[in-house]
Amino acid sequence: MKIIKHTGLVIFLLGLTLFTGTIFTGNFSFTQQELDNYITEKGYKNEVIKEELSKAIVTTESLNIFQFSKKARNAFANANNHYDKLIAKYDAEKNWDKKGEQYQYKINGKPHTLSYEIAKKAGSGFVRENAGLLWFLTFGLGIIGALLFIIPNLVLLGKPGIKNDGIYLESATNRGWIAWLVLVYLVTFYLVLYFMADYAVNWTFILDPISKALNGGPASQWFVYGFLYCTIMLTMGVRMFIKYRHNKYQIVRTISVLFFQIVFAFLIPEIMTSLNMPGYDFKNAFPLDYDFFFDWNIESLKSSGGIGIFILVWGIVLTLIIVPVMVYFFGKRWYCSWVCGCGGLAETLGDPYRQHSNKSLNAWKLERWLIHSVLVFSLVMTLVTLYCYFSGTESLLGIKSQWIKDTYSFLIGAWFAGVIGTGFYPIFGNRVWCRFGCPLAAYLGLVQRFKSRFRITTNGGQCISCGNCSTYCEQGIDVRSYAQKGENIVRSSCVGCGVCSAVCPRGVLKLENGPEAGRINPTDVLLGNDVNLMDLVNNK
């Protein structure tokens, strides 16, 4: 069994290496004819770009993506520079008409995005021509290797039951060098994905055939991300099924997050796209879905006919009615650990790292400041955006709509949710984003804390303060501090993953939806002692 496991690890690492290695392969260049077609297709008015690009990328030299990207970005920069100089010149001459004319020639877009768009067409090579084979060598080997690594646990972990043996003795799960290596890999991955997508264009070639089959178009970097996300969740979901096979709550919950990720977040939007509808994730609620009220989204929905209007109404109803009502009955877990995609990744890929969330009082204070600030930020941004959209102005109270949207997307959308949220799993635990950043979680948390039937019941006086519950709480709740007082856990941040209850050796904790009366029950003297003493101390 151990041999199978180790073989699996080797195969997985081989797959991962090949996957990473594909980035460095391929040739990127255009013929003059291809470039002319591309520029016509793009409809660039810029008169310099053709010359710049043909100097840069019409070549017989074999360029890899990094060389290509650099040349392409330079070409765009030079082309825009030409007009920037003219603008400066006319500005100095106070020739406002001429100055104004120049802006139409400028090419908008982030350099790496412009470069990505060309690279997507200009790439050739083994990867692109053998997408099927490459899929097997990267995704295929990754999946096979991971499963070979995971499935022997059925035997190796022994009898069903909580098996956290060795977690703090192993480098990968105890913040050792393996954990740091994984952190570096994940952070780099997200930086490439969000900010340097052109570098990952070879990955999109691998998935082009699958993308075409699903939505009719070639794969974008977001398709790669979505596909990878589902693959990882499914594979690590298998691990969850084995690890928690004695615990039906965990099994059902894992099936649920996998279902919502694969069907709602991935398949339905892809199929909608293939039917010429706006691709929409019906479970992604505002304000986690922070660009739902962005002008381009509203415009796109409005122009999509009946389905667009339905989505618009659904999105509003989801946030204002469905979400809080469900939280009232079931707690925020119905979303955060049963439905949400971020939660889904945290509960599968992130499960081995759940013990790293900080349980200190200071971390709790930071959490409350940070998450509620992000909530306010997202609401202000949306208000500004909507006001500007309906009034046709560019700013509200001096806050520019475009600026606040860009800032939020960059700081919260990309850095907090992606790079930090997932990249830091191995060191800071799997719920960094959900705990400190997610504005939807903040909103659900407020409802859960003040108006909900959900609580984690503490079983009388049975707690022995061992600390397993607190250690394995991914949200950094010091569960024990409540349990050892015989007090139920009612915390806004609890996502109801159920692991505290699972790891408790004495059957002290149970996630329940019950009457609101008696939900919060502070006690000093615990059940089991003199009843008169309990009355005296607890009913003061």
């Binding site: 909580i162 709550y249 061992c466 004495r506 003199d530």
Partner: protein, 449 residues
């Protein structure tokens, strides 16, 4: 300001300190030799197993003590001068007190076996025992086999610990079946089976004769009393129960039995000196409890109670209904009320028992055969609600009432398979009754006794 000194920073001493602080601004000092800060002794096993680090076993952050003005002193008390109210430390320091609380817990029993003090022989009680185990049994290369002597709760935990590092374990149990002085046969036999499932070499009805040393004074093997068989091993765990840790009091005039003798108010024979937790011995047992209760929960309760007395509200130690819990490898165990083993139960007490055909789940309900009064329940592999059973015990409910409303008591996680139907059906069949299992009711669960 009155100075309260507590010797021992376990659950009893710390609970007392916390409650004294809640009710007063007296000066409080906790003395401990073992560790600087309070930790959960019951969690020591999880550190070796890699589930947690030592810091995770500390229920309070380190700033807690200063913030609550609870002074912590590390040192070993060698003598208590009751006349001058002064503690003598082994390093000649002294500390005077106005009131003294002795909460020094237990130490592992040693029964004079030859070789019991060799290197590689250890109990599993103190933090130092854990360090010792880490030294002598870091993995199965350094430790080819460990022998555990004594079949109680600590013994099976030590076996689980060693197995988590794939160290072969031989488990010597004096009784004919695991813990059958406490558990009914059904449960004891189920645990025997489960122990063997975990590839532990369980030897029932087996006693230790001696522990043999190699030429470096380290454990080499043990010899079994009954058969004379010699088993090579590198580590011997002595887990044949615990006894009060009170040797340092022998020179004082505090009355000692097996533990520190106390009355119902947890007072010793010397005014202003009290004892709580594992080390306290009641002059007369409370109800069906033992005179010395070496249990986490009772330690906590004594701490809660004594704090009242110290703060001027003189309160007797009057624990409510008995409850306890443990975990045997993968099987969780809870008990509410009294269930004695076949040997220990009274003549009027009879069992109703149910066992799952495949899984490791079973219950034993003890009830009065004449009055049908419910006396207690042992539950294995099914979690039950403490509040509900406590209420039923207070209300003197019948066995029929308990079975009818058993669903109210279930505390398993959501979606777990429920067994009330099968349990009640078995009872009906055996007793010719027609009890109908009622659905869970929040209203009943929350109604007070």
């Amino acid at each position: 300001m009155e100075h309260i000194v507590i010797i021992g920073n376990g659950i009893s001493g710390v609970t007392a300190a916390r409650h004294i602080r809640k009710n007063s601004d007296k000066r409080i000092t906790i003395v401990s030799t073992e560790t600087a800060y309070f930790f959960s002794r019951t969690a020591l096993m999880y550190i070796y197993m890699g589930h947690m680090k030592f810091e995770h076993t500390q229920p309070y952050e380190n700033w807690f003590w200063k913030k609550n003005k609870i002074e912590l002193k590390q040192g070993f008390v060698s003598e208590v001068d009751t006349k001058n109210k002064v503690l003598q430390f082994s390093n000649k320091e002294t500390l005077s007190f106005d009131k003294l609380i002795i909460a020094t817990g237990s130490k592992p029993n040693k029964f004079g076996w030859p070789g019991q003090d060799l290197d590689g022989v250890m109990g599993m009680y103190h933090k130092q025992d854990l360090q010792n185990l880490e030294k002598f049994a870091p993995n199965n290369k350094a430790c080819n086999r460990a022998v555990i002597v004594g079949g109680g709760l600590i013994g099976i935990e030590l076996a689980e610990m060693l197995r988590s590092r794939n160290i072969p374990v031989t488990f010597l149990v004096r009784e004919s079946s695991f813990w059958n002085g406490v558990l009914p046969a059904q449960e004891s036999e189920m645990i025997n089976k489960h122990i063997k499932d975990h590839h532990i070499d369980l030897r029932l009805g087996t006693n230790l004769k001696e522990i043999k040393a190699d030429d470096k004074g380290r454990v080499k093997s043990i010899v079994i009393e009954e058969t004379g068989e010699e088993i090579p091993c590198n580590v011997v765990g002595l887990t044949a129960g615990v006894s009060p840790n009170i040797d340092f009091l022998k020179s004082s005039n505090i009355e000692l039995g097996r533990g520190v003798k106390v009355n119902r108010f947890l007072e010793t024979n010397i005014p202003d000196i009290f004892a709580i937790g594992d080390c306290a011995e009641q002059h007369e047992a409370i109800g069906r409890r033992r005179n010395i209760e070496a249990v986490w929960y009772t330690g906590r309760m004594m701490g809660e109670t004594l704090a009242q007395t110290i703060c001027g509200n003189k309160t007797a130690y009057k624990p409510g209904h008995w409850f306890n819990s443990a975990k045997f490898l993968d099987i969780e165990y809870q008990t509410y009320g009294w269930v004695f083993s076949e040997k220990g139960k009274a003549e009027n007490e009879i069992y109703f028992q149910w066992q799952h055909p495949k899984d490791y789940k079973c219950i034993t309900i003890s009830f009065d055969k004449n009055s049908r009064k419910f006396i207690g329940i042992n539950t294995f592999g099914i979690r039950m609600r403490h509040e509900i059973f406590d209420k039923w015990l207070t209300e003197n409910q019948s066995i029929e009432h308990v079975l009818e409303h058993l669903a109210d008591a279930n505390f398993d996680p959501e979606f777990y398979k429920l067994h009330e139907g099968e349990i009640v059906a078995k009872f009906n069949k055996e007793n010719n009754t027609n009890i109908q299992s009622k659905k869970k009711s929040w209203k009943r669960i929350f109604s007070k006794a």
